[in-house]
């Protein structure tokens, strides 16, 4: 009997251990010198708080147990004591002053973005990040980075989808392209946004900076060792706020140079493939447009084109998509005020042309027409 009980208790004790295999209790391990400072600063302040807390509530619990009526304690009648009151005003002042010294030091370091080795611009879009390598090795590289976790894992409609989610170690923290940076170099990040406020946050690199549309803010980090570090948008930015992660890949100097080479080669290829004067076939446009749709539109308007009315109208059978080209293009370029439809004018002429061709011929839409990049270009320069 007692053995059985002991067995059950042991099982109960073990069960949480098995379930709680990967929980975390503290800040993520930092990968920058400043991050270590912040980590330590947080620990010190928390421990100071714990000690004061135990002290103050030690008194309270002593009173609760010893000065209670049920043990016959008679109440005293004092209600002030100048000495004690002065002490418990001055002592916290001194503790706070002591805390302010390391806090001030770390803060000044945190905000010192001077003399960077390279500069990258991160632009928040609803709901993905755009990156431009502005200065330093890799200058000119530019790409978007959006969530690569499949929608099916998020929706979890079938047991297989749920199993795939549970088996995905980077669920919601993975992107199609990574921000690659060299190790040991001071990277300055210019942060801005195209539509609403986002925030660029990578915990292990100890950076979080709001991305304010129309303004450029900056922050910096200097990674200590190579590896992949994951973060998320930290400012509510609408529907898919929880689905625009940030992945920073820190590489050794040599690997970084290789990556820059391959990026430059890729960019040349893409530039040739989407050159404005290139003649596109209808099928090329549709295939290209499907890709653009998948990375820009699918979150709201759904793969089926059925949208999610009333906030996100269906494109399949839509009057706008089936209507005149210039009205659809104007909507794409300007967005629609007062709705979730934002401007997509940052897309290239070829992207917009492909997108329009694709949507006008997909699902229930049987327009049969194509839109050439040159038409988009002409419309843009005509000032809409």
């Amino acid at each position: 009997m007692s053995n059985k009980l002991a067995g059950i208790f042991a099982a109960l004790l073990m069960a949480p251990a098995a379930v709680f295999a990967d929980y975390k209790l503290n800040l993520q391990m930092p990968n920058t010198a400043l991050g270590h400072n912040i980590y330590d600063l947080h620990s010190i302040i928390t421990w100071i708080c714990v000690v004061i807390f135990i002290l103050v509530f030690g008194f309270m619990f002593y009173a609760i147990f010893k000065h209670r009526k049920s043990v016959g304690h008679k109440s005293a009648n004092f209600h002030e004591h100048l000495g004690v009151e002065i002490v418990w005003t001055i002592v916290p002042c001194l503790i706070l002053l002591a805390m302010m010294v390391p806090a001030t030091k770390s803060l000044i370091e945190l905000r010192d973005t001077s003399e960077p080795d390279m500069t990258i611009k991160a632009t928040g879009h609803q709901w993905k990040w755009g990156y431009d390598y502005i200065k330093g090795e890799g200058e000119g590289i530019s790409f978007y980075s959006s969530l690569s976790t499949p929608r099916s894992q998020i929706d979890g409609k079938t047991p297989e989808d749920i199993a795939a989610r549970q088996a995905n170690p980077n669920y919601l923290l993975e992107t199609d392209t990574h921000v690659v940076v060299p190790v040991g170099k001071k990277v300055r990040v210019l942060v801005t946004a195209a539509d609403v406020i986002h925030a660029w946050w990578v915990p292990a690199l100890a950076v979080k900076q709001d991305a304010v549309p129309g303004f450029i803010r900056d922050t910096w980090f200097k990674a200590e060792k190579p590896g992949i570090f994951r973060g998320q948008c930290a400012e509510l930015c609408g529907k898919d706020h929880g689905f625009m992660p940030i992945v920073v890949e820190v590489k050794s100097a040599a690997d970084y140079s290789k990556w820059v080479e391959s990026q430059k080669a890729n960019m040349k290829k893409t530039a040739a493939a989407t050159a404005p004067d290139k003649e596109w076939t209808a099928d090329e446009l549709k295939t290209h447009g499907e890709k653009v749709y998948a990375s820009n539109c699918v979150a709201c308007h759904m793969p089926t084109g059925m949208g999610n009315p009333p906030t996100f109208p269906a494109l399949s059978g839509s009057k706008v998509v089936g209507g005149p080209k210039d009205a659809q293009l104007a909507l794409l370029i300007n967005g629609k005020a007062g709705t979730a439809m934002v401007s997509f004018k940052h897309l290239s002429d070829a992207d917009l042309a492909g997108l329009m061709t694709y949507t006008r011929n997909a699902w229930a839409n049987k327009g049969g027409d194509t839109v050439m990049p040159a038409e988009v270009k002409a419309a843009r320069s005509a000032g809409k």
């Binding site: 209790l25 706070l96 806090a103 803060l107 170690p169 925030a199 706020h241 005020a337």
Partner: protein, 532 residues
């Protein structure tokens, strides 16, 4: 003086508790009686508490597991938004205005509030505002998932739900301002002869200070949402960089209201606690004068720290240093208050009725929330924790274990005076322990989620956050269900509770206990009570 603003129909009556009281619906719609209006405030607040609570449970149900199971992300955002707005403006603030209405006239020896008709209006503005907030859920174009802080320019994208919300905030602001003017005037002009300011119960002091905070800060919020409205519809560009505005301007204006708002909620809670702890320690409040000064300095400081909510917007480093230093200063008067409460208990003769338990729960958990606030005030640390679940845990310790627990303490404390009947002490204690345990199950683990890097306001999360989210959701449902027990206790008390005595609590010493029977008569003091 006491009859100067009194309804002439009642003049000359000294025992008029059963006279000239309208019955039926008109008693409530047309009431100018501080007790009836106080009662309506409290019931309104409780029903909003349930509405906001259901929203919280929808949030927690969705977060029980990773993946999207129950709601779509845009609806989830709307739930976090309206849970916040309804709890802050619909539940917590009206609850304390309810206390103010019931207690201030009784505690200062006045017959009623200074402006009884305005009092009626300031209550009856609330239901339409609540209806607008609820109607926003069903507005065409979908609900507005912009967060209770309503940051621009996300608000520009939202549909008509946003306009309903803006008007609700306007109405709530008007109601608060009227209520505050009433409270200030009542306290300054209607005290019984001999009731000097420094003899007032601390609850009246905290409300006097809070009312000034409200008058100063609510118009700022009204301004912020009005600018949002004109940006949305009338072509202004206050918060639109493309037109020369600045989205961050909104945050400065909002938090210039928003930080005092935190103390608008916390300071009356301090007042309730300062009444309950001495009563059940059977010992006068330690450091009465320093309590008043500490409360006033917290109120003044609260206008100088707003940008600590915005450490990551990228303001100049000098600004961050100023706001960090100013914010940590608040720890000093807050510390003084906590020390005073503990010193009040020291060498007392303590008993632990439900309200004392809630007051001690408040003291313990509010201090914990204060400490996490200190951690968050340090800019470099806040850069890691800003907009994470650590912040969510922090402000729920202050708002729920702080304000809500103190409201429970106050209700158990004054219910016998209000209804003339006693609540069931055993059930009350069950309510306390269930609330305490489930509150901590819900929110303590959220500190760990925030530290490990879970952003707030997300409907789905990475797998490493699974366990603590599941625990938190279980706690939330336990906490929510425990509040139905509270409803049962209150209804049982009102209908079948045992008769309460005039001075139900041995250690209670303010005028409502020493001079008025239980239940308190319809008109408190038609002649001022004799005071030493």
């Amino acid at each position: 003086m006491s009859t100067a603003t009194h309804d002439p129909a009642h003049d000359g009556h000294t025992h008029d508790e059963h006279e000239h009281k309208p019955y039926g619906m008109m008693r409530w719609f047309g009431s100018t009686n501080h007790k009836d209006i106080g009662t309506m405030y409290l019931w309104f607040s409780f029903s909003m508490f349930l509405v906001g609570g259901v929203m919280a449970l929808i949030i927690r149900a969705e977060l029980f597991q990773p993946g999207l199971q129950i709601v779509r992300p845009e609806f989830f955002n709307s739930m976090t938004t309206y849970h916040g707005l309804i709890m802050v403006f619909g539940a917590i603030m009206p609850a304390f205005v309810g206390f103010a209405n019931w207690l201030i006239p009784m505690q200062i020896g006045a017959p009623d509030m200074a402006f009884p008709r305005m009092n009626n209006l300031s209550f009856w503005l609330l239901p339409p505002a609540a209806m607008l907030l609820i109607a926003a859920q069903f507005a065409p174009g979908g609900c507005a998932g912009v967060g209770w802080t309503m940051y621009a320019p996300l608000t520009t994208q939202a549909g008509p739900a946003m306009d309903l919300t803006i008007f609700a905030v306007h109405i709530l602001g008007m109601s608060s301002i009227m209520g505050s003017i009433n409270i200030i005037t009542t306290i300054l002009n209607m005290r019984a002869p001999g009731m000097t300011l420094m003899k007032m119960p601390l609850f009246c002091w905290t409300w006097l200070i809070t009312a000034y905070l409200l008058v100063a800060s609510m118009p700022v919020l009204a301004g912020a949402v009005t600018m949002t409205l004109t940006d949305r519809h009338f072509g202004t560009n206050f918060f639109n960089a493309a037109g020369g505005g600045d989205p961050v301007l909104y945050q400065h204006i909002f938090w210039f209201f928003g930080h005092p708002e935190v103390y608008i909620i916390a300071i009356p809670a301090f007042g309730v606690i300062s009444q309950v702890i001495p009563a059940f320690s059977r010992k006068p409040l330690f450091g009465y004068a320093s309590m008043v000064y500490a409360t006033a300095s917290i109120a003044i400081l609260s206008f100088m720290v707003w940008a600590h909510h915005m450490y990551t917007v990228g303001m100049p480093v000098e600004g961050q240093l100023f706001f960090m230093y100013a914010t940590t200063l608040i720890a000093i008067p807050t510390g003084v208050k906590v020390f005073n409460w503990v010193a009040t208990m020291w060498k007392g003769s303590l008993t632990f009725e439900t309200q004392m338990l809630f007051a001690l729960g408040f003291l313990f958990l509010f201090t914990l929330g204060g400490f996490t606030g200190l951690v968050l005030s340090i800019v470099p640390v806040d850069v890691q924790l800003h907009d994470t679940y650590y912040v969510v845990a922090h402000f729920h310790y202050v708002m729920v274990a702080g304000a809500l627990f103190s409201a429970f303490a106050g209700i158990y404390f004054w219910l016998p005076k209000w209804t003339g009947r006693m609540y069931n002490e055993t059930l009350g204690k069950w309510h306390f322990w269930l609330s305490l345990i489930f509150f901590n199950v819900t929110f303590f683990v959220q500190h760990f989620l925030g530290l490990a890097g879970m952003p707030r306001r997300i409907p789905d999360y990475a797998l490493q956050f699974t366990e603590f989210n599941a625990i938190s959701s279980i706690g939330a449902f336990g906490f929510g269900l425990s509040q139905l027990l509270f409803l049962y206790i209150v209804i049982k008390c009102i209908t079948t509770g045992e008769k309460a005595e005039q001075k139900q609590w041995e250690g209670a010493d303010s005028l409502e206990w020493t001079h008025l029977p239980s239940p308190a008569p319809y008109h408190s003091f038609t002649t001022p009570p004799p005071l030493k």
